[in-house]
Symmetry: C2
Subunit: 140 residues, 2 copies
DNA sequence: CTGAATCCACCAAGATACTG
DNA sequence: CAGTATCTTGGTGGATTCAG
């Protein structure tokens, strides 16, 4: 509606750091990346070894995740021209630095996840008490 | 439930611990949560204040994100029955504990994001130089 | 001002089958 | 063994509109 468009250049320099966190989270915060990194944190693994370590991942997602990690320089891919083919994946130096913040996150999760679950249960209870909610159950 | 499994050490964290990290990341690792938490980390804010602080977020996403955080007990919601209505959002004690791992993540991002970007650029160059590797794009 | 509700586009992700 | 190709689907998130 604003025709002349009051050029409100919303510069947010102070929250630029939050952007960095957000972008990083967008990279490593997907469904499988941390699990793959966790599996590789114990040492180099072959393709199917990673697959077995990360239970439930599909071939497609494993390939995509590994490719993304390789692209970001977090994982190195080594092909041995043998038969049958063998491909090793290993955390790079850069990738290993990720383990520390991941462990911090793990510590937080272990310490506060029960509280979060409790809060969620309490929240659900306050919204669906089961004792006072007519007009929805229609018992008749 | 064998009570003698106390020998399970952190050597194999890929089953339980990484799951916890993954689940936690699934909660706070979405597009806006960390930005909202970051905005609220400086103190309580009203709805539109958060909206302005987190530039680019839509009302829908802000509401959903805040509701999710409230449900998880990370953010408290205070309604002032005034006119016009006023709603304050504030990090709870639990929510404030999130700041620490977030700062760790921020530190990692600041330290290693350049390396990641460089690795990605290098990777892209090795794959699409335009001069070295012709016809790699599977001419169907 | 603070939401809720609806519609819709996009993409992550699973399943499956095929290749080298 | 180590991937790739294709189809399909469910969820995420954006834009817009309505309501208290």
């Amino acid at each position: 509606m604003s025709d002349t468009n009051t050029l409100v250049r919303d510069i947010e320099p102070s929250h630029d750091s939050c952007r960095a966190v957000s972008e990083t989270l967008a990279r490593i915060g997907d469904k499988w990346t941390v699990l793959v990194v966790g599996a590789l944190s114990q040492g180099p693994l072959r393709y199917n070894q990673v697959r077995r370590a990360v239970d439930g991942i599909s071939q497609r997602m494993l390939t995509l995740t590994l490719k993304g990690l390789e692209e970001d320089g977090l994982v190195s891919r080594t092909v041995y021209p043998t038969v049958p083919p063998r491909v090793d994946y290993e955390l790079t130096e850069l990738g290993r630095t990720l383990i520390v913040p991941l462990q911090v996150l793990h510590g937080w999760a272990m310490a506060h996840r029960p509280a979060m679950l409790a809060a969620r249960a309490k929240f659900a209870e306050s919204r669906a008490p089961g004792s006072q909610q007519p007009a929805f159950t229609t018992p008749k």
